[in-house]
């Protein structure tokens, strides 16, 4: 079965039952009690803002930032705020507000602008709970009985999740549905939540020191920012693969291999033989796995690398290096690509930052390079001057 057929079957099932199908067993977001819901009203940059259980305020421009400040979206709080939005259009609107009112005379408004700017930046980090785009999360976590092109339309989820008509109440109800999965969040997303907190702390320090998000960004900050976004995206992909329901789908994308272990005399490691041939693993791929099927609990994982991948008698054969907790001969095994290490990711970012701060790089500083000429042999000059 191809993943397209698998997805189509789930959509068909959802359409037949009239209920969306969960693609994950875990929650992909957490919904906090102090979360703030923001909905675009559709009237000239106007937004509706409310805390859970509070009365909504409708405002635009600087007054919208004042309303957000009143709900606690400001830089003076110790823990990061959480903003719930229904679609990317609201994120763009909030980012625009923050940009226009950065450094406003009113310190409350300026503080709210910085906090909102931080939240909208965190929207680039999948798994972050600083700003949650509910439509985007729903499109990953659920399948509705609609065409794929309707997955990123908020109205789809309003209808399929039977949300209240009141837009603010619907936003909180929506977040609760997504956050209310019984098995909690994948452990790998803890690293993203920790990064939320650390990023907020760094931003608070910077803003307290007079920094403003509209100041020009140097290449060093941009480079490390991009690396950080990539690291979070990689963690997000790995977190999805740690979810048993998602793994069932991933069997059809080649991200998960289900097979049988084989131990051979004279071979230090072990072999995995699988019926499906479309594995996304080749020689050198670092993998993790466990004895059992994709739904099995994964506490006793092994971590190793693929030494070679081949096809024998119409079946895929992965030869894996020796490691701790190797499966026994004949054991059913499930393997996936090993998740990234958050510690290693941090180490790479620190190294990158150190490189940018090292002396001597005109590219890092965006300086005009200075010329330092060397003598060149005549034969090289003549050859270079030849007109072919």
């Amino acid at each position: 079965m191809t993943v397209e057929i698998y997805d189509a079957a789930q959509r068909r099932f959802a359409a037949l039952t009239g209920r969306p199908v969960w693609r994950v067993a875990h929650a992909l977001i957490c919904s906090r009690p102090d979360a703030v819901a923001v909905r675009e009203t559709g009237h000239r940059g106007q937004v509706m803002i409310a805390r859970r259980g509070g009365s909504p305020v409708t405002a635009s421009g600087g007054e919208a930032l004042d309303a957000l400040a009143a709900t606690g979206v400001m830089m003076d709080r110790l823990n990061p705020p959480q903003v719930l939005v229904a679609d990317p259009a609201t994120v763009d609107l909030l980012a625009g507000l923050a940009r226009v009112h950065a450094g406003a005379d009113d310190p409350m408004r300026a503080s709210a602008a910085e906090a909102v700017a931080w939240c909208t930046e965190r929207a680039d980090f999948p798994g972050s709970s600083a700003l949650v785009d509910l439509t985007a999360v729903s499109a990953v976590a659920l399948v509705a009985g609609v065409a794929p092109s309707r997955d990123y339309v908020p109205a789809t989820w309003h209808a399929w999740l039977e949300l209240p008509a009141d837009r603010i109440a619907a936003t909180f109800a929506w977040a609760d549905v997504l956050a209310g999965r019984p098995s909690g969040m994948p452990a790998l997303l803890d690293a993203v939540l920790t990064d939320d907190a650390e990023s907020w702390e760094r931003r608070r320090e910077a803003v307290a020191g007079g920094w403003c998000h509209t100041m020009p960004e140097g290449l060093a900050h941009a480079a490390v920012g991009l690396r950080s976004r990539c690291d979070t995206a990689d963690l997000w992909e790995a977190a999805l693969l740690s979810d048993p329901k998602w793994r069932r789908r991933a069997v059809h994308t080649g991200h998960v291999v289900v097979g049988t272990a084989e131990r051979r005399t004279g071979v230090a490691g072990f072999l995995v033989t699988a019926d499906r041939l479309d594995a996304r693993m080749s020689a050198g791929t670092e993998i993790t796995g466990w004895t059992g099927d994709p739904d099995t609990e994964t506490f006793a994982r092994f971590f190793t690398a693929v030494r070679s991948a081949a096809v024998a008698d119409g079946r895929l054969v992965l030869t894996c290096d020796k490691c701790a907790r190797m499966p026994g001969h004949g054991d059913p095994v499930t393997i996936t690509v090993a998740p990234p290490s958050p510690q290693m990711q941090t180490s790479v970012r620190i190294n990158m930052w150190a490189k940018y701060k090292a002396r001597g790089s005109w590219i890092a500083r965006a300086d005009t390079p200075t010329l330092s000429r060397r003598d060149v042999p005549l034969e090289v000059m003549i050859a270079a001057a030849d007109d072919e």
């Binding site: 191809t2 397209e4 057929i5 930046e121 680039d124 794929p148 092109s149 290449l219 060093a220 941009a222 480079a223 490390v224 920012g225 991009l226 690396r227 950080s228 976004r229 990539c230 690291d231 979070t232 995206a233 990689d234 992909e237 080649g254 041939l277 479309d278 594995a279 996304r280 050198g284 690398a305 081949a310 096809v311 895929l316 790479v348 190294n351 990158m352 490189k355 940018y356 090292a358 002396r359 001597g360 790089s361 005109w362 590219i363 890092a364 965006a366 005009t368 390079p369 010329l371 330092s372 000429r373 060397r374 060149v376 034969e379 090289v380 050859a383 270079a384 001057a385 030849d386 072919e388």
Partner: protein, 436 residues
């Protein structure tokens, strides 16, 4: 050091058997001196040697980029006495450069490896392999060190400062990574193919999408946008791999709009069937799919075509020889598709190279069977229509290319997007080729 003697040249007259002919020794050429044989490569050497802070070398497929990197490093290290760091994008590319360096350099050239390369020895790499505390420049004179860009990011500039940093496949390196790598040397040389797959960036980039100097853009593009006139650009405009039909196909669609039209200088090379019938340079085969890009009918068609190609012979200026597994590749967009094709060929053609465009970038074979990027799709995705991916898939062959097409794939002829228009132009030309 190479020494050329008269007796080693093919056209030298035979000496009388009863006399000892004097051996005339030509002035010894330094390693990498072959760059002087062409003005364009000599120009690159001149600019780097003379001290240009940045030299950018955009090249079409098959122009000899790896050869340029290897010879340039050898010339700068051996003749100019400079320390040259080479940053490759993958470990396989680093090994390939190291192996080719071994043919022109000596113990001055070293390959830096990591723990993941624990099986790699100096014999495998072809030249000195260093790891851990062994990583150091020669105590005197010039030297060459090859490593992946990721490995260079961990190097300490105060210990491994180089004079020149050469970035191979530079269009696959982000500007953000180049900014960090650049602290290793005051001069950079960026060699690559601007028409091929852009850097792999998994994170969200909308923050910089309006910026020509964003950290996600290919390193040469970012550097040119930031420093423009301060940089030297030397364009290579000839391919030694692609024949005239393929050159017309990809140069017009992908390279000419970017200011790098190129021409073919490939020596004559084509396939003939067992019946002696000449096989065209490009052909297509239609396969109507029903279950997405992983439809097994695609893999069956590709494997069948490979077997047909393997019954052909290749005709070059050196003569005619039968095709073998190692002469053929299958290039596809997705890993799962590669696995399917590999499985079908495992029994009767195990030596055929099968892989994705990302994996086969930089490689070539006499004949290639490629999937059209949109096969199996009914909707357009950014991945499917990325011009760089299509370009890689259409440029791995020397003598023959068969493209597996899906008549029901989306029609892009009315698209506004540049990449889609390029792909639409290529698709229209493919439809005009003969059905394989």
């Amino acid at each position: 050091m190479r020494i050329r003697t008269e007796s080693s040249t093919p056209d030298a007259p035979a000496s009388a058997p009863d006399t000892v002919a004097p051996v005339a020794v030509a002035p010894p050429r330094f390693p990498g001196a072959d760059l002087l044989d062409q003005a364009v490569t000599a120009d690159v050497l001149f600019r780097v040697w003379s001290g240009d802070p940045a030299v950018i070398v955009p090249s079409p497929p098959g122009a000899g980029k790896t050869r340029l990197v290897v010879l340039l490093a050898a010339a700068l290290a051996h003749r100019a006495g400079l320390r040259v760091a080479i940053a490759a994008q993958t470990r396989a590319q680093a090994r390939q450069i190291a192996q080719r360096l071994a043919a022109v350099s000596d113990e001055r050239a070293r390959l830096i490896v990591s723990a993941k390369d624990r099986d790699l020895t100096s014999t495998d790499a072809g030249l000195g392999v260093v790891r851990g505390r062994q990583i150091a420049w020669p105590r005197s004179g010039g030297g060459i060190m090859v490593a992946t860009a990721a490995r260079w990011l961990f190097a300490k500039p105060q210990e491994l400062q180089a004079d020149v940093l050469i970035v191979d496949e530079a269009w696959q390196c982000t500007y953000g990574d180049l900014g960090a790598l650049a602290c290793m040397a005051s001069q950079v040389v960026l060699v690559g193919d601007p028409g091929q797959i852009a850097p792999v960036v998994t994170g969200e980039t909308r923050r910089w999408e309006q910026s020509s100097t964003g950290p996600q853009v290919p390193a040469p593009d970012g550097l040119l946008a930031e420093h423009g006139d301060a940089l030297a650009v030397v364009r290579m405009r000839q391919t030694w791999r692609l024949g005239p039909e393929t050159t017309a196909l990809v140069s017009g669609a992908f390279y000419a709009p970017a200011g790098l039209p190129f021409t073919s200088r490939r020596p004559s090379e084509h396939l003939v069937t067992a019946d002696g019938e000449s096989v065209g340079e490009i052909a297509h085969r239609d396969v109507l799919t029903t279950s997405g890009p992983g439809d097994p009918a695609l893999a069956v068609a590709a494997a069948t075509r490979v077997r047909e190609v393997l019954t052909c012979s290749v005709v070059t200026n050196d003569g005619t020889s039968p095709m073998c597994d190692e002469d053929v590749a299958v290039v596809v967009p997705h890993v799962a598709q590669a696995s399917q094709v590999r499985a079908l060929l495992a029994a009767d053609a195990p030596g055929v190279l099968v892989g994705t465009a990302n994996a086969l970038q930089g490689l070539e074979r006499r004949a290639v069977v490629a999937y059209h990027p949109l096969v199996g799709r009914r909707q357009v995705t950014t991945f499917a229509v990325e011009a760089g991916r299509a370009c890689v898939m259409l440029t791995r062959h020397r003598a023959h290319l068969t493209v597996i097409c899906d008549p029901a794939s989306p029609d892009l002829s009315e698209a506004n997007d540049h990449d889609m228009r390029s792909l639409a132009a290529v698709t229209a030309r493919l439809e005009e080729t003969s059905e394989a």
